[in-house]
Amino acid sequence: MSTLDAELSRLSQDTSCLATGSDHVTVGELRVRAASIRKQMPMVCGLSIALCGLSPASLIETLVAFDGFASQIFLLPARIDHDTQQKLIESAQSAYALKESEGLAPTKVEASCSDLHDSPTRWILATSGTTGVPKLISHTLTSLTRTMKRDTRRGSTYTWGLMYDPCRFAGLQVVLQALIGGSCLALPLSVSFEEQVDTLLEQKVNALSATPSLWRKLLMDGRVLGLPIKQITLGGETVDQPLLDGLHKRFPEARIVHIYASTEAGAAFAVQDGRAGFPSAWLGGISAPVPLRVGCDGQLLIKPAEMPAGDEILSRLDVDGFLDTQDLVRLDGDRVHFLGRVSGAINVGGNKVHPEEVENVIREISNVFDVRVFAKSNSIMGQLVAAEVVADAGVDTKLLRQQIQQHCRSKLEPWQCPALVMLVNDLQETAAGKRKRMS
């Protein structure tokens, strides 16, 4: 049973592993900082802790400190409101919460001590469930790093950029790959796009993981074209062929990988042949990275070697131990392509939107008789939110459109607001009487 600190102990201690501005931290320094955190917070030993809103640098030091020390580390994502945060802390049973500004404080949860000799530290990540309420998925360092490259000779030639929230699955993957692979990780000072790109240029990043939407934005911005990119990773959204071709043309030397991963299933597999989707042969088990099947409703089923724990996972397993990914796929000759979520969840540039949530907000407006919210394909962001609205008779439609936009903006995140609103006479339903969710 390895810990993150033990993984770091294998590396050359004087190589730089974190870079923020002109500040470089070596592996040895990171481990010293982590040891000092353990010393300052001995009460966390064997207990469960929630990490709330830490800067990327503090978060990484804390993860090294507490893996193998705390019984459970709950990584609370950024942008979660206070009430939801409290509910999640209770639901994760975190006895302590560590905040950047306030430091360590006990929560209302009663502390129960675990013996770490028997089980590794649990890493708890939040995912957004079908109703929009985040669900908790329990990983371990092993389940999170199973597919990672450990060739430190190659890894040491990479400087990774961080474009994701490191408390989310995709961001944590970048952090752990950089640390375990012996690479340097460039940390931006803020989450603004400008600052992120400045960091990429300043640190001469040559390995980068981002969503397809973010890659398109980086290509439009153009400044990254001067970077000596060797490794391109795409994930979080379905990847299309034009983007893969565009990246290959602009970075001919780069290895381009698109990853199929989710908080629930972990990093399931990676596709490296430069084509969208994945080979159909994998469904028959030929050269498949993990056992894969297509369920009776067209959803992809997978059986990763290391399955995270939790009720959410158990509820999605079939008798053979395959996990329902709830991603719909279609067989197109020698390729399998992704079509979207079973739930109809819309993926706007990597941000998940639940149609029901948007429909409920629109229904609050007077003069709206009925509404259907669905995904509209978009060549820039993958998908956008579209709404068909049935208005009461005799309504001023121009005014109603304005009301819908204003009301949604006041209640929802920008990417959840409908980009297109169409006024229609009636709504289409599927044969099963369900709302049609695809455009």
């Binding site: 796009f193 939407s213 398109r216 934005k217 290509l219 439009m220 911005d221 153009g222 034009p242 983007l243 071709d245 565009g246 043309k249 706007v348 540039g349 509209k376 394909s377 978009n378 060549s379 820039i380 962001m381 956008l384 936009q405 903006r409 920008p414 990417w415 607001c417 980009a419 297109l420």
Partner: protein
């Protein structure tokens, strides 16, 4: 074409509560025009409704326009022949 694009940009800016920069011109860098990338994605979808095509989904070689002039050129180049 340029007029339609500018009008749609203005409408998207109002809808997303962004403010377009005052001296919007051909050399304006799109990501600095005042629309964020979500606004820009909405612009492409709104133009598709208006014009009946999305050049970015039909082009063989992907092009990522940097300036407003490049953006307008793409729409002109891929306009269906009437």
């Amino acid at each position: 074409m340029k007029k339609i694009i500018l009008e749609t940009m203005q409408s998207v800016a109002e809808m997303t509560e962004c403010e377009l920069i005052s001296d919007l011109n051909e050399e304006t860098v799109l990501l600095e025009s005042g629309l964020d990338s979500l606004g820009y994605a909405i612009l492409v979808s709104r133009l598709e409704e208006e014009l009946g095509y999305d050049p970015f989904s039909i082009m063989d070689e992907p092009v990522y326009p940097r300036t407003l002039a490049e953006f307008v050129n793409i729409y002109e180049k891929y306009a269906p022949v009437k």
